[in-house]
Amino acid sequence: MLHLELLIQGLIYGSMYAVIAVGLTLVYGLLRILHVAHAGLFALGGYLGLLIINATGSLVLGMLSSAIIVGVGGMLMYRLCYQPILDRPPYVALIASIGLFIAMEEIFRLIFGPYGLTYHHPPLQSQMAIGGIHLRAAEIGMVIAAVGLLGILSYLSQNTRTGIAWRATVDDAEMAKSFGIDTIKVRYLNFFIGSGLAAVAGIFISLLSNLVEPTMGGVPAYKALAIIVLGGLGNVRGTLIASLLLGVVEAFGTIYIGSILDRDAIAFAFLIVVLMIRPQGLFAGR
């Protein structure tokens, strides 16, 4: 029974990692940038969601508006921060992104205080029992949201013109341009979608602990980075699988090797072990 619970726990967290990591791998696939500031957008989404939900009482309104605002924020981030430095060596964008992320964390701390904010009436807290396992509505909601959103994303990318244009650009931007695809628009779309997803993930995570706090982006960020490497940089399906795998490894790992390694380090231990065996990650290429 314990094993099943751990598995489910792992899959739940894994599904949330997936929603965060997908945005990150989308940006890498397109621009070859490790968009660490993505974690800042994740936290921003959590904060905005909480504030709006507290103000209006509506979970849906909170999620939707937060996702849209953060999505636009992501697009602005691309335009103001990344686009001007795309022709520089890759470490420039990486370090700029890290700087941005740290600055964002600090701004949250300075504006909203170091201890964070809580929900007046946290939604989705009801407990349910499914097959003898107790889950909260928020956890179930997380999985449903992850499956739903990523499923929609996958469908749209295969079946709409915009989706196909996006996939072509990720595959080979030069060729896409020669086919008349507006690669700049694709980039904006990329950031909008990835950031919006991060916001949703941020809200769900905050529902689980009834807390948004300035450093909430940190740990998921680091794990998401490990995940996109495992999944194959730019490979969405690989990222999804790697996310779920990591969630499960963490759940089991915390129980079984928690005495030598704390939970957050497990993600990186897993990454390093995998990379030593398969230097190209679990799934290379696309």
Partner: protein, 290 residues
């Protein structure tokens, strides 16, 4: 010079050694490491354990240097296997792994760290002199390497690894050398920190520290020895001179990192170079007019 200034200068000296170590790995050899603080930590913890066991200062610090260098070599070997876009994340992972392990080990003090480390026995000023001498040595070493044929090979590796191989550079060997030297320097810094602070906590060697050191290298101008020294001095002293910003210290670091990368990716060294070139141009045209 009061006790406060002496302490400050000591910290600056330690940071210079730490930053020059990262400069060797990331600047000279182009391998971006986001986990440098782990080697700082290895050096510090090793020295601390030896110091508490009664070892004399030089032995403790040497042990710190060697253990950090050995761990650095292992990490370097591991990093050779991965693609270089993965290097940054792998080194970040090493940093977290180090913390994760240290936090769980009782003999390393766990979450609470190691305390009551014996004093260096040299007094505050004496210790400052030791730190500054070592910082001077590390600086001279860095400058030497930069001018040497090893530095020449590093330039090629940092510029274009694959082409470097085609012109006979054993890229893997040089990367390992950079790692071993750079992490050993971090180990020295760690040992010196141990006797200075006499109290170690795992959080002193976390990701934020790695980023702080990286910012010193990057703001200084990645690869430039004097640029990195200048940036280290400024960034270490800044929160002290502007007391009111100590609460904003991290925000300033973050914003500075971003701003430098966005507007002056060559750092202080780059700015110095272009203003020198600008001045030379101006004097030349003045001469031509005259």
């Amino acid at each position: 010079m009061g006790i406060y200034e002496i302490s400050l200068a000591t910290v600056v000296g330690i940071n210079i050694i730490l930053a020059l170590g990262l400069n060797m790995i990331s600047g000279f050899c182009g391998q971006i490491s986001l986990g440098h603080a782990a080697f700082y930590g290895v050096g510090a913890y090793t020295s601390a354990l030896l110091a508490k066991a009664g070892a004399p200062l030089p032995l403790a610090i040497a042990a710190g240097m060697i253990s950090a260098g050995i761990v650095g070599l292992i990490v370097g070997l591991a990093s050779l296997r991965v693609r270089h876009d993965f290097l940054a994340i792998t080194t970040m992972g090493v940093g977290f792994l180090f913390l994760g392990i240290v936090r769980q080990q009782e003999f390393l003090g766990g979450e609470l760290g190691i305390s009551a480390i014996p004093s260096s026995g040299f007094g505050k000023i004496g210790y400052l002199v030791i730190v500054l001498i070592l910082a001077g040595f590390v600086t001279a070493f860095s400058l030497w390497i930069k001018r040497s044929w090893m530095g020449f090979a590093f330039d090629a590796v940092a510029d274009d690894e694959d082409t470097a191989r085609v012109v006979t550079v054993d890229v893997n060997a040089y990367k390992l050398a950079a790692f071993a030297m750079g992490t050993s320097m971090a180990g020295i810094a760690g040992g010196l920190y141990t006797f200075f602070a006499r109290f170690l906590m795992p959080d002193d060697f976390g990701f934020i520290t790695s980023i702080t050191v990286l910012s010193m290298v990057v703001v200084g101008g990645i690869g430039s020895v004097f640029g990195v020294i200048a940036a280290t001095i400024i960034l270490t002293l800044m929160p002290e001179f502007f007391r009111f910003i100590s609460d904003y210290k991290l925000l300033v670091y973050g914003a500075l990192l971003f701003a430098v990368m966005r507007f002056a990716p060559e750092g202080l060294a780059g700015l110095a170079r272009s203003s020198l070139a600008h001045m030379r141009f101006k004097t030349r045209t003045k001469d031509e007019v005259a």
